[in-house]
């Protein structure tokens, strides 16, 4: 399964580019509802070597449970230690400028790029 889609959001993995892209608004209710996205990220991580990109440039909103989900994934990748994580954000979406730097704090080697 390379894509999870619902009315408000879409999360998809493109194997050719090694990128997981997030679109829309993610305001799911807690860990349980985020589980399918966590599974997708884990699946991508286990099949990735060297580099994995998360593209958030079309993610308009993310609630704190979603921030929790992404942060936990980044901590997991820090512990694994052999994968370069790249996060692409957008300056046009205010929450990203405020919140994504916290991911880099959790994993200093994470590459944070803004368009």
């Amino acid at each position: 399964m390379n894509e999870i889609a619902a009315e408000d959001y879409r999360v998809g993995y493109t194997p050719e580019t090694g990128e997981v892209s997030f679109h829309g608004t993610l305001r799911l209710n807690g860990t349980e509802e985020y589980a399918p996205i966590v599974d997708l990220l884990d699946m991508v991580a286990s099949s990735s070597q060297e580099k994995l990109s998360l593209n958030l440039q079309a993610l308009d909103f993310l609630n704190s449970s979603g921030i929790n989900m992404l942060s936990k994934f980044v901590i997991k990748m820090r512990q694994r230690g052999d994968l370069q994580i790249v996060v692409r954000g957008s300056r046009q979406i205010p929450w990203q400028g405020k919140s994504l730097k916290n991911l880099k704090r959790l994993m200093p080697s994470l590459e944070l790029l803004f368009d």
Binding site: T25, G30, N63, S64, I67, N68, S71, W95, N102
Partner: protein
């Protein structure tokens, strides 16, 4: 018994610009009502953004822009509603309310919901920790590792990402084992 944590302004003067949303958290299953949190938050965000200049209109002045206000309101209002819904479903006779007031120099969010005595002691311990910490960064990492879904991460992100000032007031009710909690979030604009 009334108890106050953090920066809670009891005698806050009324504002002429405000919106209030009130609902019963038990009127529908929480999975169905959940969507209304985002809808309500986005409506409040759009409504209050109108009172601020666009980036072009601000002409380089140091004032909050529409896009920033919209982003802050939609994030904070949604988090407050999510919290109120999680805790407030304990008793169907008390409604949940969210008021957003526009003051001269700040936005003030007020949510009010019921909370069971058990949750109250857990919740007040968590917020006492947030209010007294001198190391938000460590508390943030701790909250990320919490699995309970009641880690306070929403409050921590309001402080860290939006510079919000938080306060809480707990009051007793006539009902055994049930309190009311009002959360006040202030953001300078």
């Amino acid at each position: 018994m009334t108890e106050i944590f953090g920066d809670f302004e009891v005698g806050l003067p009324a504002s002429r610009e405000f919106l209030t949303i009130e609902f019963s958290p038990s009127s529908l299953p929480i999975q169905k009502l959940w969507k209304n949190n985002g809808l309500s938050a986005d409506f409040m965000a759009d409504y209050f953004a109108t009172f601020f200049p666009t980036e072009e209109e601000s002409d380089g002045r140091e004032v909050a822009h529409q896009a920033e206000v919209k982003d802050a309101v939609s994030y904070i209002a949604n988090e407050l509603l999510e919290n109120a819904m999680k805790y407030g479903e304990a008793d169907p006779t008390f409604s949940v309310s969210l008021t957003l007031q526009l003051h001269k120099d700040r936005l003030v969010f007020l949510t009010r919901n019921s909370i069971s005595t058990v949750d109250r002691s857990e919740f007040s311990a968590a917020i006492a920790h947030i209010v007294s910490t001198e190391d938000l960064g460590s508390l943030y990492e701790e909250a990320l590792l919490d699995e309970s879904g009641k880690s306070g991460l929403g409050f921590l992100t309001m402080i860290m990402n939006y510079g919000a000032v938080l306060g809480w007031q707990f009051e007793g009710t006539d009902k055994e084992g049930l309190s009311l909690v009002t959360t006040m979030v202030q953001v300078a604009v």
